[in-house]
Amino acid sequence: MQAEDRIRINLTVNGSSVSQQVEARRTLADFLRYDLGLTGTHTGCEQGACGACTVLLDGVAVRSCLIFASQLDGAAVETVEGLANESLHPLQEAFHRHHALQCGYCTPGFLMAAKELLTVNPDPSETEIRQALSGQICRCTGYENIVQAVREAADTLHGAKGRDA
């Protein structure tokens, strides 16, 4: 691939503007990891089947291994690195409290997928959480603690029951 095949893209990543030349074939996942050094987004299959690479693209959860960075001119991308500010995001906090991660390799993808879920469905049932996250593979935890964590984060984020429990 030659330099002349490179395409300039302007986008925001976690709120900061980025302007960069990318190869047409560069996946968003590789762009984030290797060009921007945002290595929190992991890849587990690069075939769109595991969800490890999930990021938010204009607020929608997508698999960054299946999208070319060159398609993203003008887009807003959110990754796991953008979740915490001073303190952890309620989802991160809940994952910690519920032991919802072991190796942590899948965790960034789960956090982003869960963030989208709680945006579209602020008060999901356990079944809805399981369905919404069924495209995300976690090999370590057996999922139960992830489900509980997402449920707790929903409560925290929307000030519903169980806040101080």
Partner: protein, 750 residues
């Protein structure tokens, strides 16, 4: 809502200490490391299961801009024949023995470019006959079939017992080929350092990797330093030395540049060890009252193309007798050579298979004799008053006999039955559910040797700032060693977690080690850390005594301090005065037990099966687990729940299917389905506690107990659901929908 205490000693419900960086996307996985001028390795892999490589033509690969190096197996053999002396070669020079075996490699600063180069290498193959199906191989060749291992273990005379038995049952039972699929693939980064290498690897055993690399490269082991930082799951397959590891290390040395290999998922399917893949012909002899007399098993293990670096057939064999009395036992294991990916350990490492066949045979006996599944187990269990129990089974190394250390198996069974409310389920299953599905209940018990292999080492330092650094030879791949070992250190040294610094496993820091596998880390490395802490305590109190002018017996530790009858000393000040003398306090301890510990437990699965579609839903799942003393309660439960997911996978989902030409037909997550949040139920976990007398912590391993009996419990439940409508015996795993539908209409006559 979990309640949280934060004191931090053994048994406290501590939140994990390693979470923060992982939650923020600041993990330190091998692929996350930014290394200037690192070359990424891409490997061209054989398209054929068995073929001669006639030629490899470079049609522009080396000339591609950005490509730094291209090498074929033949070239490598010529320039570095030493690499080919040990087991599996780093690249094939002559004959490929499985689809996925490396035949050439390219290096570039960008993996995309390295892969471009591979596309410009043209390989001419001459195809050779393929060995694929083990039963066919043995049927056609008999005793002449090529095996990579053939052994018999057992005790007593089985034949007279079979001749005299009231009942003899014989079955063919099979467990499909499967593999671990950690979400992070294999990964290794080698950087030239002095005359040697600094290696960062996603490995379960840094010391073994160092040993293997040093041997392959003819380097002194001290010249190879291996560090394991964050590792994205291991489950058995990230152990030992892979051909790609040797290639990376060799090329880094040769080119004097950092070289990294990151496996992609397709490569993982085609080059990381597979597992299970067993066919059993098992016979059981029993009395009419259900008393087991003898078991005789003949295992064919589809071993793949090379001898397993770590065999697990014998582990299957020693697992089969389980918690039951037997008068005689015999098991033959043949590792049959095929043209497939070599096999190795995978969560349970042979134990789930052994447990599966034994528990299935107990269910068959229950059915034959009309004795309830729980009752038939009850009648054969080893009793607590028999502990320690001499099983008469030779241990895996053949040096001794397996003696169970402790446990109350009848209590495990009764606890599980009560928790499951089994009578209610028996009632419920009399009628189909309104949607036509049938309910079934499966029971499986297990014993498991945990804390295996010779030794582990702990290294504990008093740091200059007064904190205490702990390290061991067993790195974590998600198990949470930082938390668990910190809790062990907190108890041993009366500290709080903030006083403890956990160090990654680094061969430069820990002189010797074995690794993390076989449910051994807490038993082995945990005990070694404990012993090293106790040594350090003694050293610290001695030093403090000298400064304070007190006998060390009158001193004790408290968080950050040495306490004396009057006053005392901050650890920080003590450390500073020791460092000022140019000294340093370090304690090393090796834990080397005579025998492993034996964990046990009972699983009960309640399922709903649709006989028409073959779908299986797990409605409720009970686990009673006895892993002795518990260090980190939520981590232990996390291991059990996570382990169950592997059991569900083996029972219902995952199978590596090959055709008769040795081509893998299920080579992606699309056709090798990993369990999702919709497949894995929340286990209801109950603990019993029979501390092991074989280590200072009284612990037993827990990494595999969630998996081992789950295959049998789930298969038993599916079978149980279908029996009333004429279903057959569940003999083959995984129970895919297709197999369940066939099972439902098997119409086997008793």
């Amino acid at each position: 809502m979990p309640s949280v205490k934060n004191r931090g000693g053994i048994g406290d419900d501590l939140l994990r200490l390693e979470d923060d960086r992982l939650l923020k996307g600041q993990g330190r996985f091998v692929g996350d490391m930014r290394v200037p001028h690192v070359l990424e390795l891409a490997v061209l892999r054989s398209l054929h299961a068995h073929a001669e490589i006639v030629s490899i033509e470079d049609r522009g690969a080396s000339a591609l801009p950005g490509v730094v190096h291209v090498v074929t197996g033949a070239q490598l053999q010529e320039e570095a024949p030493g690499l080919f002396a040990l087991g599996q070669p780093p690249l094939v020079a002559g004959e490929t023995l499985y689809v996925g075996q490396g035949v050439a490699a390219a290096l570039a600063e960008d993996r995309y470019v390295a892969e471009d180069a591979l596309e410009k290498l043209f390989v001419r193959y001459r195809r050779l006959p393929v060995l694929s199906d083990v039963e066919r191989i043995v049927e056609e060749s008999g005793e002449a079939a090529v095996t990579l291992g053939d052994s018999v273990i057992g005790f007593g005379e089985v034949e007279p017992l079979f001749a005299a038995a009231d009942i003899v049952l014989e079955e063919r039972l099979a467990i499909g080929r499967a593999t671990a699929q950690p979400l992070e693939g294999r990964a290794i980064l080698a950087m030239p350092e002095g005359e040697g290498l600094l290696v960062y690897a996603a490995t379960q055993g840094p010391h073994g990797l160092r040993q293997g690399l040093a041997k392959a490269l003819s380097l002194a082991p001290e010249l190879v330093r291996v560090v394991a930082q964050d590792v994205g799951g291991g489950f058995g397959v990230k152990n030992g030395v892979y051909p790609d590891d040797i290639l990376v290390a060799y090329l880094a040395l040769k080119l004097q540049r950092p070289v990294r290999f990151q496996e992609d998922r397709r490569e993982h399917f085609l080059s990381t060890v597979h597992s299970r893949a067993q066919v059993h012909r098992i016979r059981v002899a029993a009395r009419r009252d259900g008393t087991l007399l003898a078991v005789d098993d003949d295992i064919l293990l589809d071993a793949g193309a090379y001898q397993a670096r770590v065999g697990y057939g014998r582990t299957t064999a020693v697992t089969i007798p389980g918690p039951y009395h037997l008068s005689a036992y015999r098991c033959r294991i043949r590792d049959v050579h095929t043209h497939k990916v070599p096999v190795g350990p995978y969560r349970g490492a042979g134990r789930p298979e052994g447990n599966f066949v034994m528990e299935r045979m107990l269910d068959a006996l229950s059915r034959r004799l009309g004795i309830d599944r729980a009752e038939i187990r009850r009648r054969n269990l080893i009793e607590p008053h028999e502990m320690p129990y001499d099983t008469r089974i030779p241990d895996r190394n053949g040096n001794g006999v397996i003696v169970y250390d402790s446990g109350d198996y009848p209590l495990a069974l009764e606890t599980a039955l009560k928790a499951a409310d089994i009578e209610t389920w028996r009632e419920r299953q009399k009628a189909p559910l309104p949607d036509g599905r049938r309910i079934g209940v499966g029971i499986a018990m297990f014993t498991e040797d945990t804390g295996v292999a010779p030794f582990e080492m702990g290294v504990v330092d008093l740091l200059e700032d007064g904190r205490i650094r702990i390290a061991s030879g067993s790195p974590a791949q998600g198990q949470g060693h930082e938390t668990t070992f910190t809790q062990i250190a907190c108890s041993a040294l009366s500290q709080t977690p903030g006083q403890i610094v956990y160090a990654d496993t680094d061969t430069a820091l820990v002189p010797a080690g074995i690794g993390t596998f076989g449910s051994r880390a807490t038993v082995m490395a945990g005990s070694a850390v404990h012993l090293a802490c106790k040594k350090l305590e003694d050293m610290v109190l001695t030093e403090a005594g000298a400064i304070l002018g007190e006998a060390k017996e009158r001193l004790s530790l408290s968080p950050g301090r040495v306490d004396a009858p009057q006053g005392g000393l901050q650890l920080r000040d003590l450390a500073a005065s020791i460092e000022a003398k140019g000294e340093h306090l370090r304690a090393e301890a090796v834990f080397r037990p005579e025998q492993p510990t034996y964990a046990d437990g009972c699983h009960i699965a309640m399922v709903a099966v649709d006989p028409l579609t073959g779908s299986v839903e797990i409605l409720k799942y009970i686990i009673v687990d006895d892993c002795g003393n518990v260090i980190s309660p939520r981590l232990v439960d996390g291991q059990i729940q996570g382990g169950l997911a592997f059991g569900v996978a083996a029972a219902l989902l995952e199978e590596l299917v090959y055709d008769n030409q040795g081509q893998l037909l299920t080579g992606s997550f699309m056709d090798y389905p990993l369990p999702t949040a919709l497949d894995v139920p929340a286990a209801e976990i109950h603990h019993l506690c029979s501390p092991s007398p074989r280590n200072p912590l009284g612990v037993k391993g827990v990494g595999e107990g969630g998996t081992v009996p789950a295959l049998a419990a789930i298969a038993g439940a599916v079978e149980d659901a279908l029996l009333p409508i004429g279903g057959g015996m569940a003999r083959q795993l995984p129970l895919t929908p297709e197999r369940v539908v066939r099972l439902a209409s098997a119409n086997e006559r008793q």
